[in-house]
C-alpha cells in the first residue's frame, strides 16, 4: 500500500495529536505480533517454572530462544510505551506536563529494552 493520506492532508499537518494515524496503526501491529510472542512467552515461563538457574540459562542461551525473548521484550515495551502515551493523552492536559511524561515513557522504554537485550547477551556469553 502506498499511502492513504491525500496530498492535501500531508501539507496540512498531522491533526490534533500531531502524529496522524501512526500511533493507532503501530499499536495494532504490535498487538498482533504480541499474540504469538505472548503465547511463546507463557510456554517458556511455565516450562521454566520450578526449574533452576542452570535450566533457565541453557534455555535462554539457545539462539532461537534468545532471539524470541529479545523480540518479545522489545515489542512488549514498545506496545507498553504506546499504551502509556494514550493514558497520558487522556488524563494530562497541560502541554508541558504532557511532553515531560512522553519523554519519561520513551526513556523508560529505551532503557528497559537495552537492559533486556544486554542481559540476554550476557546470558548467551556466560555459557
Amino acid at each position: 500500500m502506498s499511502s492513504l493520506q491525500t496530498p492535501l492532508h500531508k501539507v496540512q499537518g498531522l491533526g490534533a495529536s500531531h502524529s496522524g494515524t501512526g500511533h493507532f496503526w503501530r499499536q495494532r501491529i504490535t498487538a498482533v505480533a504480541l499474540v504469538p510472542l505472548g503465547l511463546w512467552f507463557a510456554f517458556a515461563i511455565v516450562g521454566l517454572a520450578g526449574t533452576n538457574e542452570v535450566a533457565i540459562l541453557s534455555f535462554l542461551s539457545h539462539p532461537w530462544n534468545a532471539l524470541l525473548m529479545a523480540t518479545f521484550t522489545t515489542i512488549l515495551l514498545y506496545h507498553m510505551a504506546l499504551g502509556l502515551q494514550v493514558v497520558v493523552d487522556d488524563y494530562v492536559h497541560r502541554a508541558g506536563m504532557k511532553i515531560f511524561f512522553f519523554l519519561m515513557i520513551r526513556f523508560l522504554m529505551i532503557a528497559t529494552t537495552i537492559t533486556c537485550i544486554l542481559a540476554l547477551i550476557r546470558i548467551a556469553a556466560s555459557t
Binding site: 499537518g13 491533526g15 490534533a16 495494532r28 498487538a31 498482533v32 504480541l34 499474540v35 505472548g38 507463557a42 517458556a44 511455565v46 516450562g47 521454566l48 517454572a49 520450578g50 526449574t51 533452576n52 538457574e53 535450566a55 533457565i56 540459562l57 534455555f59 535462554l60 525473548m69 521484550t73 512488549l76 515495551l77 507498553m80 499504551g83 502509556l84 493514558v87 492536559h93 497541560r94 502541554a95 528497559t112 537492559t115 533486556c116 544486554l118 542481559a119 540476554l120 550476557r122 546470558i123 556466560s126
Partner: protein
C-alpha cells in the same frame, strides 16, 4: 484552533463520566483493559529484572527468587498472569472490532463476559498446572 489544543477559549461542558453511567460489562472490560495494561507495565519491568538477575549468575538469581518465591511474590505473579490473560484476550476482542466484527450490543456484552471468564480460567489453570508439578518441562 487546531494548532493550539491546550488553549481553551471557553469552559465547555464535559461529557458524562464514570459516576453518571450505570455499570455495564463493556465499560468494565474497557477500564480493566487499561488497568491490566498498567499492571503489565510493572510486569514488563519485573521481566527485565528477572533477565538481569539470571544474567548475574547464581547469586543474582537467588536474590530474585528470594523475593519471588514468597506468598506475596506468588500473589503478584498471579496478578501478572491474570493481567496478561485478560489483556491478550480483550486485545483480540479489540482487534476483531477493528476488523468490524462483534460491534452488536448483545455480542459485545457476551464477548466481554467471555473474556472475564476465560481469563480467570486460564490464570487459575496455569497456576494449578505449575502447582501440581506439571511445569518445568523445559529442563
Amino acid at each position: 484552533m487546531a494548532d493550539m489544543p491546550q488553549k481553551r477559549a471557553h469552559e465547555r461542558p464535559l461529557s458524562p463520566h464514570l459516576t453518571i453511567y450505570r455499570w455495564q460489562v463493556t465499560m468494565l472490560a474497557s477500564i480493566t483493559h487499561r488497568a491490566t495494561g498498567l499492571a503489565l507495565m510493572v510486569g514488563a519491568l519485573a521481566l527485565a529484572w528477572w533477565l538481569v538477575s539470571v544474567s548475574n549468575g547464581p547469586e543474582g538469581y537467588e536474590s530474585f527468587m528470594a523475593l519471588a518465591n514468597t506468598p506475596i511474590g506468588w500473589l503478584i505473579l498471579f496478578g501478572f498472569t491474570w493481567s496478561l490473560s485478560f489483556h491478550m484476550l480483550n486485545g483480540i476482542r479489540h482487534l476483531a472490532w477493528d476488523l468490524g466484527y462483534g460491534f452488536n450490543k448483545v455480542t459485545a456484552t457476551q464477548t466481554g463476559t467471555l473474556v472475564y471468564v476465560l481469563s480467570v480460567v486460564i490464570a487459575v489453570g496455569l497456576f494449578a498446572f505449575v502447582w501440581t508439578g506439571h511445569g518445568g518441562y523445559l529442563q
